[in-house]
């Protein structure tokens, strides 16, 4: 192992590119209509190359998007101090509101031509010649999770080199009694999930009351959205964007262009991924970081926007709680030939977000390349802990982080659970090194959040 050192690499500089005046979205007025003559937000991105260090110490050349906005955080890339400021894979989170007019400027600092598109948003498609820049406007799509990426050439080559990221469209929450990620568009099934989590007793349904065991630590709570467009993620909202790296493709990236190779004629058949990343890191490096790791209390359901920006299928498996699968989206041309994966609704051929009319609770969710799925982790008491044990844990109040004595016949908080891909080849790095691949954690820190703890 030639790993550089054993320090944990953190997230690269994190900021939302769509920075506007921070606005509390829950305080929005229903009467405010988005301006149509001037853009609501101007997003500026650059395409550039940089070097990224991987979990086992190997380095690869990447292509990436960089936030060029006025409020961009130009932190040193934590994965490589020599890297270009602000470049990252996946690219910066773009957070907008449905119906906004979004102006986008993309500067291509590379010599070769690149493309840009947002799946499901045909107006947001362009081509940028080497060394030039393009500006265009589009209307932000219906609330949900979207992928922006470079599909120039149609084979996903630049995407697996790193040119992909996530755009989040939020609803206007006005008139929505119980917040959900889709506002008034939410299906009755999705509304029922959020209502049941916020207040199960209000459902007056013995099935629900049996589903969530009664008692002070069994009652879930409401989901709270990210209220500030300048935040990439929130306490109850994480973005899990998975990528894979096959270094032989990255080796084609040179300062003067992309080396001609027979590999690129059929990227998919030649793709043998050796590194499996989420939000730009893997394994040990992925086990901490507020952008990824959920550290919440009971009753703080957390939205996970999962997207697969790579070229291999993933079977994401979470321990500790099942998730509610709220929505999915993909282009059949990207994902196909896809069969009916989960429900009786097939993916939309337009790439639009399909809101589930039947919300399944799962511990595994399937992610084909270019698929997006929003899932909700309820933060309920893990249901198979023996009766009474969790309440006793809360009553004892023992937490590892409090620095208390650890020799005990009772288990302390936090309860820590993994999320990993069960297509286990993805648990490797460089052909071995289990579990330095696509694995992270989430934590239940206790029964209820102490009121003295500040929010994120």
């Amino acid at each position: 192992m030639d790993r550089r050192d054993f320090l944990r690499f953190g997230a690269a500089g994190v900021s939302a590119a769509a920075v506007i005046d921070p606005t509390d979205v829950l305080a929005q007025s229903c009467t405010t209509t988005p301006a149509t003559t001037t853009p609501n937000v101007h997003i500026r991105l650059a395409i550039l190359d940089f070097t990224q260090m991987l979990v086992d110490g190997a380095s690869v050349r990447m292509l990436g998007f960089r936030d060029m906005g006025p409020n961009a955080v130009c932190a040193t890339n934590a994965n490589d101090p020599s890297a270009v400021c602000g470049a990252r894979v996946p690219g910066p989170i773009l957070r907008v509101q449905e119906g906004w007019t979004v102006r986008m400027t993309i500067e291509n600092t590379r010599p070769e031509t690149h493309g840009f598109e947002i799946t499901g948003v045909p107006a947001a498609t362009t081509v940028i010649a080497g060394g030039s820049s393009v500006t265009f406007d589009f209307v932000a799509p219906p609330a949900g999770t979207y992928i922006y990426h470079d599909n120039f050439g149609g084979r996903g080559l630049y995407r697996i080199m790193g040119l992909a990221g996530v755009l989040i469209s939020q609803p206007n929450y006005c008139g929505v009694a119980v917040p959900n990620p889709y506002g008034t568009r939410a299906t009755p099934a999705i509304q029922a999930v959020f209502q049941a989590l916020a207040n199960p007793a209000s459902m007056n349904d013995p099935v629900i009351l049996a589903r969530f065991r009664p008692g002070p630590w069994m009652t879930p709570g409401p989901w709270l959205p990210v209220t500030d467009f300048s935040q990439e993620y929130g306490r109850q909202e994480k973005i899990w964007a998975v990528t894979q790296v096959d270094p032989k493709f990255n080796d084609l990236i040179t300062p003067s262009g992309i080396t001609s190779s027979t590999l690129t004629s059929n990227v998919c058949d030649n793709f043998v991924p050796r590194y499996f990343l989420m939000d730009g890191r893997s394994g040990f490096d992925l086990s901490e970081g507020d952008d990824v790791v959920i550290k919440n209390y009971i009753g703080e359901p957390t939205l996970i926007r999962s997207v697969n920006l790579g070229m291999a299928h993933h079977s994401l498996h979470i321990h500790g709680n099942h998730i509610f699968e709220l929505s999915e989206a993909a282009l059949v041309s990207d994902v196909g030939p896809i069969t009916n994966g989960y429900s009786y609704t097939r993916p939309s051929n337009s790439g639009a977000v399909v809101l589930r009319t039947n919300v399944l609770e799962r511990d595994v969710w399937s992610m084909w390349p270019m698929q997006r799925k929003d899932v909700l982790l309820p933060l309920e008491v893990p249901p198979d802990i023996p009766e009474g044990q969790f309440a006793a844990m809360v009553a004892r109040g023992k937490s590892v982080e409090a620095g208390e004595e650890y020799d005990s016949q009772y288990e302390p908080f936090p309860l820590r659970y993994v999320m990993h891909c069960h297509c286990e080849m993805s648990q490797t790095a460089g052909g071995g090194n289990y579990p330095q691949g696509l694995v992270t954690h989430w934590e239940i820190r206790g029964g209820r959040r102490p009121t003295t703890l500040a929010s994120l």
Binding site: M1, F6, R8, D56, A189, A192, A196, M203, V207, I208, R211, C268, D269, V272, P273, G283, F284, M311, A312, H313, H319, G320, H322, F324, T339, N340, G341, Y344, N358, V359, E361, D363, V364, P382, D384, I385, P386, E387, Q389, V400, Y406, D407, S408, Q409, Y410, E411, P412, Y417, V418, H422, C423, E424, M425, S426, Q427, T428, G431, G432, N433, Y434
Partner: protein
């Protein structure tokens, strides 16, 4: 070729001095260490594959700082040097159903004569020496207080009861708790009837492939008429099948227990399966083999529990309409989730580790037919071995469904 880590010699244990003394009488309620023992919750389900509790005692004090529960997480102990312990079970409760699972190594002989090493869990209590592939089913009832004792072999292992959601110590993931080098008793109390898996979570990429897994079924309590349904107030069934899909890449089966764990390229990112199974039956024999094929009366409802234990993405098709009643152990009887029909002839997918419980209902006119299974690649989406002229090496199986 070696699997000497997995002989069934006397296990090597880390000395463990912290276990409390077992209560001598089953009715004991509190030990000297102050551990409360609730009375046994319920009697064994008639379908249980365990034995009546309480079984072996392993409560006591745990040195959490010598596990990942309270130890400092480092790059080395995340993967290469995971804590290997043999601790007591914290928050000990008296079990009403008890299992043991002991790791073994064995060889599977394929129809082409090739012998492939595999590892599994055997059942020392009720297994009569059998070493089935896949490992024996753990079958319990909702509300059971379950203890599962893992007995390792030379190398460390764990049991993760996949989809069952207990505390971290009982979840079987080494790098957030500990790997077991000897024995540990896992404690959980299932709340949801359905279909699950149990498997080893050490070097999982390899150990799951090597065969260290089995099905886990949670039944509801019998209804007022004494019938055991698919879940409480759920469908009745007269015929039950368990279809567990698996695929084997023989190259992987020559690897060592800890292959790649501390560095080195052992090719565990590349999976090219050559043999394909449904519930341990090789593809060429699955069509009519009674373990897989369904034979039912025309008045029967058939429950099929499907588990994808392969690293292939499974594509499945039935010649008759089937109703999905439960997914990943959660029944579709909620305001947000209803049962739904997969129409005859439609292919649907199961990602690795997914479970679907489906029902085939009467009437069965013209519903005798087949179910078909394709094992497809996670990148190319193609059926594995599709170009092979030997059906054995093609990632395809089918089985008969007959109503007589």
């Amino acid at each position: 070729m070696t699997h000497d880590q997995h002989t069934t010699d006397t296990p090597v244990s880390v000395a463990d001095t912290n276990r409390a003394v077992a209560p001598t009488a089953a009715a004991a309620t509190v030990t000297a260490a102050g551990i409360a023992f609730p009375a046994a919750a319920q009697t064994l389900s008639p379908k249980s594959t365990g034995v009546a509790g309480p079984g072996e005692f392993a409560g006591g004090v745990v040195e959490f700082d010598k596990t990942a529960i309270a130890g400092q997480e480092t790059f080395l102990n995340f993967g290469c040097e995971v804590a290997k312990r043999n601790p007591a079970t914290p928050d000990w409760k008296r079990a009403n159903v008890y299992f043991e699972r002991k790791v073994f190594g064995e060889k599977l002989r394929m129809p082409d004569g090739v012998e492939v090493d595999y590892w599994g869990f055997e059942d020392p209590l009720r297994g009569n020496g059998a070493r089935p592939f896949p490992s024996p089913v753990i079958r319990v009832q909702e509300g059971d207080l379950v203890h599962v004792k893992l007995q390792t072999s030379k190398g460390p292992h764990t049991i993760h009861h996949h989809g069952i959601e207990p505390t971290t110590m009982n979840d079987g993931v080494g790098h957030v708790s500990m790997e077991v080098s000897g024995s540990y008793i896992y404690q959980w109390q299932p709340q949801h009837a359905g279909t699950w898996i149990y498997h080893c979570h050490v070097n999982t990429v390899l150990h799951f492939e090597m065969g260290l897994y089995g099905a886990l079924i949670v039944d509801p309590a019998p209804d007022a008429a004494g019938k055991i349904r698919a879940f409480k107030n759920g469908p009745e069934y007269q015929v039950e099948k368990l279809w567990v899909f698996d695929d084997i890449d023989p190259r992987w089966h020559d690897l060592e227990h800890d292959a790649g764990l501390c560095g080195g390229d052992v090719g565990l990112n590349i999976f090219r399966p050559r043999y394909f199974f449904v519930s341990g039956i090789v593809n060429t024999r699955a069509t009519t083999h009674s373990t897989v094929a369904v034979t039912a009366k025309r008045t029967d409802q058939v429950l099929i529990r499907m588990i994808n234990a392969a690293y292939s993405v499974m594509r499945i098709q039935f010649d008759m309409d089937v109703e999905v009643i439960s997914v990943d152990g959660h029944s579709l009887n909620k305001p947000w989730a209803k049962p739904y029909t997969i129409p005859r002839g439609e292919w649907f997918e199961m990602a690795t580790a997914t479970r679907y419980d489906i029902i085939i209902k009467p009437p069965y006119m013209a519903r005798t037919g087949k179910a078909r299974f394709q094992f497809t690649d996670w990148i190319t989406k193609r059926v594995h071995g599709a170009t092979s002229t030997n059906r054995l090496y093609v990632g395809y199986a089918e089985t008969n469904i007959n109503f007589v």
